[in-house]
Symmetry: D2
Subunit: 132 residues, 4 copies
């Protein structure tokens, strides 16, 4: 299994009245990490990529505060099915603290129905998944 | 079990290049629904309420498009523990289509550690949970 | 001059660590007011409308706090040119306090260049502008 | 006059159905640039800094698209008054294209009224303003 390391910048507007990054912003961070990870594995057409998120779960471990330094988000492929694949994430702050763990299920789509993962995409996913 | 019906407005800026509400915005909708639901059950100090979200999961069913009409978000209390409680949600659009289902685990906090749900809050939750 | 009255909901995530709506969110409110106002004057295809914002200015008068009640945003057409028109706004909270005043210059576009305001749109704008 | 060069990352969720960064997000970019610029001139307590934005104007020149590369935002101090100062900005994309120009008027506040710019802050601003 290859863990892809990504870096995502915070914004002051991510903070809420408690001075923490509001929980609603975590998915924004995961989305940036996912785009960067898919880019890194060679799947470049991220913007128009015909996939949808089917499921997302997230465990909040420690609040995230503002910093000019980026967050580190680890991304890895944890499962590959016929039409879907799973991505897992760990959000880690500039002090090495684990802030959150998350999982997404992504499904490939065409004309509003699930379709098999395109061969080129499956190959790219398999290369980093190294699933046994 | 009492389902609390809330209404949450979309914004044009919630949309992404696919013309759908981006997945990252769904937690924003759930947060508004949660604040309105807690308000409705009589727990008014929502803004400074010392609770944190420990876990969130969401199943995306159908894309949400823009509309001037609000979304309907059903909220109900599905479990009450010593320091935490569970909220479940269904997001339904202006045509009655189920767009997403979600669950949050909220934990009461004081000075960075979990504390028992305050009695007044527990009472309010129990009143709508009607758990058997 | 006809002032169009619109209502726009706040979100908890609009707030920053000072407990105020962050300044970056005001344009979001203005955008919702603009869409509602254009809808009201009968120009319905707001989502795919080929216009761009050329200029925006905003005067911040009083901080906006969170409330379950919507903001009232007054919108009016203050100028109509050949390819552009001006919209003015007043953001007023649930207590009648003036929070901000703003102006947008919108330009009609086609294939990346400014084009005359479409006749139907000009007619709709003139009907509410009642410019002397 | 010293121009402070800052770098601000885009997010996919900044895009709207036209595939451009929505106009409402530009103030978010300016806020990040401002925080980074104030940090750079040695005024570190940016998060709790008791200043408010009194005015913001922005000219939109060219649409911003998504890119993994950061935007370059130039920031400079264009005026210093007794209780307020002006910041100017230029947003430039990864291809060197000027996307927007903007100006903010910031006012120092204490207990809800304007107060003179704190001496240490004034000194820091003067050092980069080199106003004649």
């Amino acid at each position: 299994m290859t863990v892809i390391i990504t870096h995502v910048a915070r914004r002051f507007s991510d903070l809420d009245p408690l001075g923490h990054v509001n929980n609603t912003v975590f998915l924004d961070y995961l989305q940036e990490a996912r785009i960067r990870a898919l880019h890194e594995i060679g799947y470049l057409e991220v913007v128009n990529f015909s996939q949808v998120m089917a499921h997302q779960s997230i465990d909040f471990r420690k609040p995230i505060h503002y910093s000019l330094e980026p967050l580190t988000i680890e991304v890895w492929v944890s499962a590959i099915g016929r039409t879907s694949y799973h991505l897992n994430y760990r959000i880690i702050n500039e002090q090495g603290i684990l802030n959150a763990e998350a999982e997404s299920v992504m499904v490939c789509f065409d004309n509003d129905k699930a379709v098999p993962i395109p061969p080129k995409m499956r190959e790219a996913l398999l290369a980093v998944a190294e699933l046994e």
